[in-house]
Subunit: 642 residues, 2 copies
C-alpha cells in the first residue's frame, strides 16, 4: 500500500544555473579540494585530520599513531560520497582516479574478517563492539556504506560496495537476535538509513533485515547500553538521563516527540521512514508522522534549524526556541532535508516539501560562507558578538564562520548534500512526474518506454517565474504534478500558452494530466511579495516580534546595514517594504521605513518611556549573514503595532 | 577629609513592627533554630552539615572524619554573627549560653600557634596556606572575625574576639611584605572587611595594616596565585581566565568595572570603601565610585540582583541582563547592601541608599520564603518551570525555593543581614542624624552629651507615611537629615505641625536644622503611585517591556494570578493601574486591564498577526513570588504602545 502511492526520486538531475547550481559549484571548486587537503594534512595551520594516514596505518602501510576523533574515518567516507555525487553530473577523471585510490586504501585497511575501522584496528582491536553507546563504529560503517552506494551509482564501480558488503556480513554476524549475537544498536544512528540505501541497490534482504533489527531493538528493555556497560565492568552511565539523548529511552514505535541529539534523531527518523516504506509498515509511518508534527509544529526554528539546546545539541520542550542560544546545527537541518525527502517519497504532500525547502534555503545554506571556505556548526537566529564572548552560555555560538573543525562533521555534510541537491527536485510515480523544488536544471525521465527531458528555467528563489520545457521523441500522456509552495498565495499557471485557474489541492500539488508534445511549455508564476511571519505566541522568545520572508527565503537584519543594537529596531505594522537589489550580495534585499526606539537618557532604569526615531531597516537573506564582517544579526524584529 | 564628612551607623536600633521587623522575627523564630539543628546534623532527611562535629574533631574531642565544604566553619561563624545581632535587640539567655558553648569549642579547636580551621587541622595540616586561590582559610577567618566583633558588641564578651586576635596575629606572621612572608591574599575576599571591623573595635593598627596589605597586593605581578601554584608543583590554572573571577586580574587601584564572582566582588569593594575611609585614601574611594557607577548603571537588575552569568556566578558585560538565565545570587545582593552602606557612610547621598533599599526589598528578601523555611540562591526575573527542567542552561534556576543547601551560604547570610537590619537605618555625623531607611523602630542617639530617642511609625514599604517622634530630656539643636527616595517625585513634609515646601537637594537628603523639643513630630509623606519603569534600550532582553514598581518594591506577575504563558501578557500604555490588598499575601497588589495577545491558530509560524484579548493583569511584590505554588513568574511585562 505504501509502495503503491510512493514515488522514486530522480538522481541524475543536472543544475544549469541559479543559486543552488552556484552553491554546488562552490562545493566542487572549493570544499572538495579543501577537504581533500585536510584529510591529507596539507592545510597549513589547521589541526591535522590524519584521516588518510589513519587508514594507511590500519592497512599496515605506514607506522605511527592514530590521530583524531573515534569517527575520523567518517570524514573520508563523506568526502567519497560527495565526490560520487559530483561525478554523477560533472565527470572528472582526475578526481575519480583519486577516489579510486582512496577506495583501494579502504579495502586494504579492511581486516580479514571484514571489520573496517581505523581507530579500533590501530588502537584497540580488543575493544571492538564493546561500547556502541559512545563509540562510532556503526556510524562510520554507515557513512562508508552511503559512499559505496553513491559511488556505485555514479560510476558503476562496485569495489567499495563489495568492501562494505563484506563489512555488513561481519556486522550481521555480530549483531542479531541469535543466541551468540549482541542485541545492540548504535549510539549515533546512521547505519540504519545506509543499510536501506544498500538494500535498494543490492536487493539483499539481509541488508534490510539488519536495518530493521537495529531500529526495532532500539530502546528495548533490558537496555543494551546498560548491558554492555556492565560487560565492560562499568556502571550504566546514562548521558543526560535515560538514553533520550540517543533516542533510546523507549522502543521507537512508542516514541511521539523528537528528543535528544538532533542529528542522531534526524538520521533515525529518516531510516524509520525508509523502513516503513520498504516493509509496508503503516504503524512505523505513523510514528514518523507523529514525530514530524512534533518537530515542525513545536520544535523547529523559522529557518528550519532544529535543536535549541547546546548541551546535548538537540531538542528540549515544545515552543522552546530561543534565538540567541539556539544550537540549530547545520547537520541537523541537513538531516531534516533527508527525512523530509523520505516522507515526501512516501506521501507527496507539500507539508514535507515546504519544510525541505525551508531547511535548504535557510538552515543549511547558512552553514557555508559565500566563498565556501568557512562554516557554521551552530546557526543562531540572533547574534551579538560581545555577548558570545562575554557569556558562558553563549560560548557555542560563534559570531562568525570558522575555517575548519576538529570534529569536522558539518562541512562535509553540506558538501554531500549540495553536491547531490539535484536529487531532491523530482520524483516519479504512477501519477507521473512530481516537481518538488524549483531550480534551473535538466533532467531525463523514462516514462513507459519513452524518454522525456524536462528543462527548468528560473532564477528561483529570487524570482518566482519557473519555465518548464518538455522534450520527447513522440507525444506522450502523463501527469505533471507541480508543487505550489505553502508560502505562495496566488500562483499562476500557463500551460502551452493557456492560463489555467489554479485550485491548489490539500496536498499542494497541482496536477496537469495531458498528452505532451515536445516543445510544450509550462510557466509557473509564484508571486513573491515580502511576507511578515509571526511565531506562535507560545514561543516566548518571539512574542512581539515579526520575521520577514520572501519566497522560501527568511531574511535577517545585520549590523552591516543597520548599525549596532539591533534590539532597538522596530518595524511598524504599516511600514511599506520594498525589494531592491543589494549591490554587494547581488540578491534582493528588503528595505523599509522603521523605527529605532531608544532611551532618552543614560540611566539603566528610568520612568521615562523610550522615544521613537525614524530609521531605515534593511534586511538580507538569513543564509547570507556574516559575509560582510563581524557584527550583530537578528531574524526576529520588534513588531510595532499601531 | 573623608572622615570629616563621614557618618557613623547606629547599631542598636529596635524594629517595632512592619515588614522588616516581621522578616527579622522569622529569622529569629525559624532560621536561627533551623540552622542550629542543621549545624548539629539534626535535620532528618537533609545532608548533614557536620560543622559543629568538625570543630569537635579539630579540638581533639571527637573522632571521625571531616565532612562538608572546605569552608564549612563559616556556617558556624555566620550563625554566631546572626545570633549576636539578635541578642543586641532581643536578649535571650538560652541562646546566648548556646553561643558561648560554641565559642568555647571554637577556642578549643584553635591550634597552639593561633591557627583555626577545622578542615586543614583535621585533614591536611601540611597544606595550610598553600592554595589561597581555592581554599577558603582566610574566608573562614573573616567570618569568625565578623562574628567575634558582633558578639563583643552585643554582649561585651570578648572570648571570641581574643581567639580571633590570636588567629590574626598568626595570619599577620605568615602574610606580609617581609622576606620570609607570603605576599598572598584570599581567592574569596571577606577577611579584608572583617579585619577593618576588627580594627574599629581594637584600634590595633596592625589589623588595619593587614587588611590594607591584602587589598594592595591583590592582582599584582608576579601573580601570587601563579607563584603558589608553582610552589605546589602545579601549572598556574587560571579559572575562567586571568583571575578576573577573583577580581585579581590587575591591582585593585586600576580596576574600573565589576568583574567575576559577584559575591567576592561585593565583599572586596566593601572592604576597599572601608579602607578608603580609615586611611583617608581619596584614590581608593574613586576606585569604588567608578566601579559603583559601572555596577548600578550597567550591570544591575531592577531588583538589585547582580551577576548575570551562572558559570562564574557573576558579572559579564555592560547591559547583559537576561531575566531568565540571571544568577542574581541572594548573597550578592546582600553584599551590595554592605557595599552601599559603606559608600553611604563615606558620602551621604541617596544614590547609595536607593540601591541599598532596592536590594533589600527585592533581591535580598526574595531569597527567603515567607515562612522562613525555604531559600533561593538564584533570583531570576523570569521563570518558566518547564524551561528550568527542559534546558540545561537554565538548570541553575530553581523555579521554587529549596529547603537547605550543601553549600549553605545564602540562608545564613540572609539571617545575619535581617537580624541586623536595624543597623542600616540611621547614621550620625557632625551634621546631625541621617535617616536612610524607613521602618517602624526606636533608636537612641547621643548628641553632644544628651540622649535623643527617635521613634518611627510607619507601614513602609506598603505605605509612604512616616511619623518620626523625638524624645529628649531638654531642648536640643541638631540636624535631622531625611532621605527622600529617588523613586519619590512629590514628597510632603510636616515638621511640628507645619507644612514645609520640600526642595530635594542633589544628594537627596532634606535637612531640618532646628532646636528640637521632646514630643516634636515630623511627618513625611512619600506618595506611592504605581510607577512604570523602563530599562535602557541597550538591555536587549528588556526591549519593549515595562516593569511595575510601587515605592521601593518591584512587582511581578505570577501564574497563580494570571494563568500560564505570561509572555503573552501586554500592558497597554493607557491601562489604569489600581492598588488593592491581596487577600492571601496581605500586601498591596497592582491590578489593571491588560491584553493577552495570542495566536489565532495552532501553527508554529503563520502570516496571521496574533490577536488581542482583554484580560486582567495582577502583579504582586517580586520578593513574594513562589509562595503560592509552582508556576511562571515575570518582572518585565510586554509594553503595549498605542
Amino acid at each position: 500500500m505504501l509502495k503503491e502511492r510512493a514515488t522514486q526520486f530522480i538522481q541524475k538531475v543536472k543544475l544549469t544555473g541559479g543559486l543552488l547550481a552556484e552553491r554546488a559549484d562552490v562545493v566542487r571548486s572549493e570544499v572538495l579540494p579543501y577537504q581533500w587537503r585536510a584529510l591529507n594534512d596539507q592545510i597549513p595551520g589547521a589541526e591535522p585530520s590524519h584521516a588518510i594516514e589513519n587508514l594507511r596505518i590500519a592497512a599496515g602501510e605506514a607506522k605511527g599513531e592514530f590521530h583524531g576523533m573515534l569517527w575520523q574515518d567518517s570524514d573520508v567516507a563523506k568526502w567519497l560520497e560527495a565526490v560520487a555525487y559530483s561525478l554523477m553530473t560533472h565527470p572528472d577523471p582526475e578526481l575519480e582516479a583519486r577516489a579510486d585510490e582512496v577506495i583501494d586504501l579502504v579495502g586494504r585497511a579492511q581486516q580479514s574478517d571484514g571489520y573496517l575501522n581505523s581507530y579500533f584496528t590501530v588502537v584497540a582491536p580488543d575493544r571492538r563492539w564493546t561500547n556502541l553507546r559512545d563509540n562510532h563504529e556503526l556510524y562510520c560503517a554507515g557513512h562508508f556504506i552511503e559512499a559505496a552506494v553513491a559511488y556505485y551509482q555514479a560510476t558503476g564501480k562496485d569495489e567499495l560496495l563489495k568492501i562494505m558488503c563484506r563489512f555488513v556480513d561481519h556486522i550481521a554476524s555480530v549483531f542479531g537476535p541469535g543466541e551468540n549475537q549482541k542485541r545492540g544498536y548504535p549510539g549515533h544512528e546512521e547505519i540504519e538509513l545506509a543499510l536501506i540505501k544498500l538494500y535498494r541497490v543490492t536487493r539483499d534482504r539481509r541488508h534490510l533485515d539488519l536495518a530493521k533489527f537495529f531500529i526495532e531493538e532500539r530502546g528495548r528493555q533490558p537496555h543494551y547500553f546498560d548491558l554492555e556497560a556492565e560487560a565492560r565492568g562499568e556502571k550504566p552511565s546514562k548521558r543526560l538521563g535515560d538514553y533520550w539523548y540517543h533516542q533510546a529511552h523507549m522502543p521507537v514505535r512508542e516514541q511521539t516527540t523528537a528528543v535528544g541529539h538532533a542529528v542522531r534523531a534526524m538520521y533515525l527518523y529518516t531510516a524509520v521512514a525508509d523502513l516503513a516504506l520498504e516493509t509496508e509498515d503503516a504503524e512505523l509511518l505513523q510514528v514518523c508522522e507523529r514525530i514530524w508534527d512534533n518537530v515542525v509544529n513545536r520544535r523547529m526554528y523559522i529557518t528550519a534549524g532544529i535543536g535549541s539546546e547546546a548541551r546535548w545539541e538537540g531538542f528540549t520542550i515544545d515552543y522552546d526556541l530561543p534565538s540567541d542560544t539556539a544550537y540549530a546545527e547545520t547537520c541537523a537541518s541537513i538531516g531534516l532535508v533527508f527525512w523530509a525527502q523520505r516522507m515526501l517519497q512516501i506521501t507527496p504532500d507539500r507539508k514535507y516539501a515546504d519544510v525541505m525547502e525551508r531547511a535548504l534555503y535557510n538552515g543549511v545554506l547558512s552553514g557555508m560562507s559565500l566563498e565556501g571556505t568557512k562554516f557554521f556548526y551552530v546557526n543562531p537566529l540572533s547574534v551579538d558578538p560581545e555577548i558570545c564572548k562575554g557569556r558562558y552560555d553563549h560560548h557555542h555560538v560563534k559570531p562568525t564562520r570558522q575555517g575548519w573543525f576538529g570534529c569536522a562533521c558539518c562541512p562535509p555534510n553540506i558538501a554531500r548534500l549540495l553536491a547531490s541537491i539535484g536529487q531532491y527536485i523530482y520524483s516519479q510515480g504512477k501519477d507521473g512526474l512530481y516537481m518538488h523544488l524549483f531550480a534551473a536544471s535538466e533532467a531525463t525521465f523514462a516514462i513507459g518506454g519513452s524518454r522525456v527531458k524536462l528543462v527548468q528555467q528560473t532564477d528561483y528563489p529570487w524570482d518566482g517565474t519557473v519555465r518548464i520545457k518538455l522534450e520527447m521523441d513522440a507525444p506522450l500522456g502523463f501527469g505533471l504534478n507541480i508543487r505550489i509552495p505553502g508560502w505562495c498565495d496566488d500562483p499562476k499557471l500557463v500551460v502551452c500558452g493557456e492560463s489555467i485557474v489554479v485550485t491548489v489541492p490539500q496536498d499542494g500539488y497541482v496536477r496537469i494530466h495531458r498528452t505532451w508534445t515536445s516543445g510544450d511549455e509550462v510557466v509557473l508564476e509564484l508571486p513573491m511579495p515580502v511576507t511578515k511571519v509571526w511565531a506562535s505566541t507560545r514561543v516566548s522568545d518571539n512574542v512581539g516580534k515579526v520575521a520577514l520572508q520572501r519566497g522560501p527565503v527568511v531574511y535577517c537584519v545585520e549590523e552591516a546595514d543597520n548599525g549596532p543594537n539591533l534590539a532597538e529596531l522596530w518595524l511598524p505594522a504599516d511600514a511599506e517594504l520594498r525589494v531592491e537589489m543589494d549591490p554587494v550580495l547581488k540578491v534582493p534585499a528588503i528595505v523599509g521605513q522603521g523605527v529605532r526606539r531608544v532611551s532618552s537618557s543614560d540611566a539603566l532604569y528610568t520612568t521615562e518611556r523610550p522615544v521613537d526615531k525614524p530609521c531605515t531597516i534593511r534586511a538580507i537573506p538569513y543564509f547570507m549573514w556574516d559575509n560582510r564582517g563581524l557584527g550583530e544579526m537578528r531574524v526576529w524584529i520588534n513588531d510595532l503595532t499601531k
